[in-house]
Symmetry: D3
Amino acid sequence: MKREDVLMEALPYIQKFHGKTIVIKIGGHAMVDPNILETVIQDAVLLRYVGMKVVLVHGGGPEITEKMKAMGKEPKFVAGLRITDQETLEIAQMVLVGKINDGIVSLIANCGARAVGLSGNDGNLLIARKMDLQKIKIGDVEHEVDLGHVGEIEEVDPRVVHCLLEQGYIPVVAPIGIDRSGKSLNINADTAAAELATALGAFKLFNLTDVDGVMNADRSRIYHRLKLHEVEAMIEDGIIVGGMIPKLLGCMKAVGSGVTSAHIVNGNKGHNLLLELFTDEGVGTMLSV
Amino acid sequence: MKREDVLMEALPYIQKFHGKTIVIKIGGHAMVDPNILETVIQDAVLLRYVGMKVVLVHGGGPEITEKMKAMGKEPKFVAGLRITDQETLEIAQMVLVGKINDGIVSLIANCGARAVGLSGNDGNLLIARKMDLQKIKIGDVEHEVDLGHVGEIEEVDPRVVHCLLEQGYIPVVAPIGIDRSGKSLNINADTAAAELATALGAFKLFNLTDVDGVMNADRSRIYHRLKLHEVEAMIEDGIIVGGMIPKLLGCMKAVGSGVTSAHIVNGNKGHNLLLELFTDEGVGTMLSV
Amino acid sequence: MKREDVLMEALPYIQKFHGKTIVIKIGGHAMVDPNILETVIQDAVLLRYVGMKVVLVHGGGPEITEKMKAMGKEPKFVAGLRITDQETLEIAQMVLVGKINDGIVSLIANCGARAVGLSGNDGNLLIARKMDLQKIKIGDVEHEVDLGHVGEIEEVDPRVVHCLLEQGYIPVVAPIGIDRSGKSLNINADTAAAELATALGAFKLFNLTDVDGVMNADRSRIYHRLKLHEVEAMIEDGIIVGGMIPKLLGCMKAVGSGVTSAHIVNGNKGHNLLLELFTDEGVGTMLSV
Amino acid sequence: MKREDVLMEALPYIQKFHGKTIVIKIGGHAMVDPNILETVIQDAVLLRYVGMKVVLVHGGGPEITEKMKAMGKEPKFVAGLRITDQETLEIAQMVLVGKINDGIVSLIANCGARAVGLSGNDGNLLIARKMDLQKIKIGDVEHEVDLGHVGEIEEVDPRVVHCLLEQGYIPVVAPIGIDRSGKSLNINADTAAAELATALGAFKLFNLTDVDGVMNADRSRIYHRLKLHEVEAMIEDGIIVGGMIPKLLGCMKAVGSGVTSAHIVNGNKGHNLLLELFTDEGVGTMLSV
Amino acid sequence: MKREDVLMEALPYIQKFHGKTIVIKIGGHAMVDPNILETVIQDAVLLRYVGMKVVLVHGGGPEITEKMKAMGKEPKFVAGLRITDQETLEIAQMVLVGKINDGIVSLIANCGARAVGLSGNDGNLLIARKMDLQKIKIGDVEHEVDLGHVGEIEEVDPRVVHCLLEQGYIPVVAPIGIDRSGKSLNINADTAAAELATALGAFKLFNLTDVDGVMNADRSRIYHRLKLHEVEAMIEDGIIVGGMIPKLLGCMKAVGSGVTSAHIVNGNKGHNLLLELFTDEGVGTMLSV
Amino acid sequence: MKREDVLMEALPYIQKFHGKTIVIKIGGHAMVDPNILETVIQDAVLLRYVGMKVVLVHGGGPEITEKMKAMGKEPKFVAGLRITDQETLEIAQMVLVGKINDGIVSLIANCGARAVGLSGNDGNLLIARKMDLQKIKIGDVEHEVDLGHVGEIEEVDPRVVHCLLEQGYIPVVAPIGIDRSGKSLNINADTAAAELATALGAFKLFNLTDVDGVMNADRSRIYHRLKLHEVEAMIEDGIIVGGMIPKLLGCMKAVGSGVTSAHIVNGNKGHNLLLELFTDEGVGTMLSV
């Protein structure tokens, strides 16, 4: 492909996205491989360069587990779900806010842009409440399990993010919420990104994950463009199954609440973020109304 | 070359040029071939899309000559220089302002942007005075030749251009000046573009012409980057000769007066404008301090 | 009349009109007599001086005809209506934009104000579509006549005019429209002025013509103030007849669409523009709701 | 003279004075004849109408004397100078602020504009200090006379006037100053107007008095335009004598401190204010640098 | 009580009231005792210091009566109501505007703030109309009494007050209104304060009087907080009687029209204004919806 | 002391400090006793309430040591100085940013204000470089000790703090710097607070510590007000000794660089912050030029 053709294809998108807000969820896998993380950060800084307002949301499960082990604290699980007791929460918070978040901010500074790390209590960004008991079947018996200090988002106050975006900063958000009495709660990062995109009136929500997008049953092809009602039908019809469903739920809620499009893209492949944004066909799956 | 590499090379330029002013002189050749003109206009509109402030300056010699002939008016020349009498001036003005300029404005509208045509009396944009008698040797005798209604620029009032750029318009300027008593004068388009770029405090001046740039003696390679003092030396040393010199003079004056860089690029080759702006090496010659 | 009485009568009008927009149609007759044109321009510049936002719209029929003849092109008419073929359009455009419009702009510069010439494609000012076939009776037979490249206005984008007025310029508009595909069309100047006044939300529309205003049957007196419904009745009752009707139609449409008043004034009599604006009785006919 | 000629002469002045500040001192004579005062106020309101920023300063000697007599208080004089004891000051203040000033404000309201009455303590407008003892010769003996509560201006804080002018009000100022401890002092109105004009950076200072302007020795003609140095010479040479000198001193000081021109005009003749401002020759004397 | 406790109690109120408008009516008693007036002014200036927008309204009955006597004018009363003939009005205006109002402005200047005195004609602040004839029973016969130049407020134009507050001034308002023809009218000061508070959209209206607030029947305790409907009931039930009722009527009207709270406080006791504002319990009676 | 006296003393300070920036260093002791911390936060929120721009800087030495021990990492010291190896730095960062800083932000949210936690890499707030080797005498031998990942501040970019203050947030800063390559460095909190106050052009710097202020030799009295040169003399004369000197150095540098005053106050005693700010005498030591 000729350079001028790439440019002529890309330039109208660059114009269209100028000044628009994009929320990018960086999955846990990116955290483990520094090359992947750096490529994603590089792309995010380029987007900021061409005038987009970029917000990053990150997770950090693997590192939390690792740090817990280093501190001699055994992670507890019930039916595969992590139980977050007070000590686990404190470690999670220290790792997410004091290590991963701070690390991403420094990486962005290194790429020549300016970032500010936030967690959910900064400017009351993510107000949450403790999650209800979860009904879980173990064998034939349904148990009510208390996941501990885990929250679901009640309210987002996006003003601190708007204010930083206006001044040219890249806000980097750790998925820790705060309840009305000032206590911290662990939040699912996919959900945090989707709620934030909605509250910000974002133009796009990106979920950088480790699969290429929504695929058909035999995984022979990717659906590059899907409408909300198509996804709903495909879930109902059992075409979309397994781990993709929870990833899609946040995207669907965001798109249903005014975010123009949500994208599921493989973040492990170099610069997919740029290719999804600035080429006609894209590389992952774009979901819109 | 991979798409992502083109994008990663181009994006920092796009950021760097955002909001910057670029004055593009479109040569007479582009006026004759509608495909070339359309390609140039397309590129100019894309530049406007990605946030540059684009100003076009055009010439129109061939069409003026043609129209004069159609009206039964024989062009007069002395030693190769056109003599602009009152009738010639009127025809030139009608062709430049009422036909070419108006045509470019419509072409831009067709590409989805908004343009406004200007000539030098609009907002007193180009204040000129009648050129002094020219000393010309015919044989051994030096004659003083009066070129007629031809002017040199005394003062540029760029406010109308600034005002239109601020509102997102592409100003398209015809090279007709106005003297202090309100009379029109024909102006050289290269000079008009250079003076305008200087008065606007433009970031870049582009001279789209029909050669590839400044080349070495045997025309085996292009000089892609030249400093002002290098060009001065090359002219003195006779390395740069002929028709390239007058083209360079305007560029040199602009660069010497604060325009960051001036570019001589072959406008006849598709999308050279984009390639010169958004690739590391460029395709033509860039002149800077 | 004593000076102080003239001043005391005028000053409240000057205050009342400060910052208000006035669209002035200058008829073809003014174009032919340079003294008349200069008086009108002088008055227009004075209005700009005392804070009015002045927009000029001009015609140019006689000069177009003259230039066509000079170029050996015979004007064609069917039942008195001019047929505008491609060549006629090109000549009309060159004369209107490249000669008359440019000349008015220079005249204004000469009077110490700053003007900018516009035609309908500048900033997509006048979007038009080709006029339908006209049904014309020749003898007893009704013919459908194609007037050629003649348009009627579909949409006015007044932003470029607003932007220039805000910066203190006097926009001078040539009656050339542009269709959705970028092609030029000839437009009736009275209609252009009325549509422009409406789109601008102008305070006043002036039609400077060669009669003194709307007169009674025996032409013994002028109606200085008329209401819309009165004019409608007078047309229906056959009191107003002939060439005055088309002039009134644009005024009536403008006044009916929010322009506060429209004036029909004899532009050939010195400074009638000032007298109509700044005296209690006026000199021509003022039409209002 | 024809209406259009008056208008064409006046309009450029109206433009030139638009947005400019004019301080008008209304003399005591105007206060006594309601017709004269009303004409002056009418003119002042018209000036406000055409965009000037009008400030009025008034005196009130005759009414103070009259009110003192009504209250059985005998005015005291030493060698022709009024002695302002505490009781006299209180009466002066009540008459100037509570009667004359308030009356002018109501008169302006009646003419359709909005005014605000001020005295020197409003916003610390006129900070004054008690005047030094005056050396006065009575017969051959020089006495030092204490004029009582009479002040000279030390500092003007024009912010309250600027703020009211910006909002479209006509400030009406009574010549009462305030000293640093908050006590009131009587101030000469000519001086107050001149100091105020200087502090405001006014364009013009008008002294409406009961003579036609500065005249030559045999009072056969008025000097319509005088330069500062000419007036100085004429005073030195004894051409200007008597009561005109103190009137001129304030004007000279104002013009010497940046006020563009000061005018001495007969306020008793109808609408002289307009004629002095809006005609080429004027009616009184204009003093400039 | 410890200093820090006073501060911690006060600071939240200071924040809450920041930028809010408070209209303070200063009763006639404060005018008679200079110590009381000075304490009130000191407090008002402190409120301005901490960011409140303070407006003062004053009366002046006792001084008017005194001055009338000094001028040999006998006050006339019918059934206890003062009859304001033309001469009385003139004296009232001179005393209120030229003496009391001016005195308060100087006092504020002395405390280090900047004030501007206003009466009802300044900026058409208080437009009033002559009061209807009052029906008054003398013995068994009902008489219709003409109170003379006494007005009731028809319209308040608060712009001049807003404009002065924005610039940091303390407006001081004398209770003189102006009718549509520009004539002055005497206005009740309680009413003027209440109407002004309503028109300004004030946060609080203070009536500084000479009783401690609304008390119960045996005057053993003050009602510190009352709702509008409670006051209405208490008046109906005869619990609130006598002179308190007219004071309450203005407060009730203001609170009913959007003023957040109205306060009746004893202005004779030092700094009650501060204690009512900045302590939890307050010292007088607060009326709210 | 009477309430009104406390208020009248405090209100002028409240006005004076309105909109001013105050940087408060909270010492490690406050971190250990939750009551002390809460009192300090309460006061800080009240200051924000009355319009001050509050910035908090905190340390955290004791908690870092405690957490290191919990993780089985033995703190290393050379001659009493902590050596910060990579692991220590990571723990320090997690504790300071992910625990202490986050905790203060939540506490502020709980008190009804909005805070944002920052560390030195957020918006490149604190650019530092690795500290030079420290020359330390152990016995008679001078050793060069490498303290490890400890930095001194090279540059402060206060924009992110300004931007948050403008929007009403309380920035809470952890003493972690970032070097030019993006690596974190431990910073002394006293120094960070002083440098930040200087870069912000703060009005006041508060060092809340565990002594009452600068005292005389026998600790019988506090110096409430000291000038810069007095402190310099007292250090030279050995009157001020020991741990107070390093605390004073930051304050002296800040005051010498434009901060109006620096205060050393005992943060362990309830509400000393308010008493130092809002009473005439204060409770600690105020240092000014």
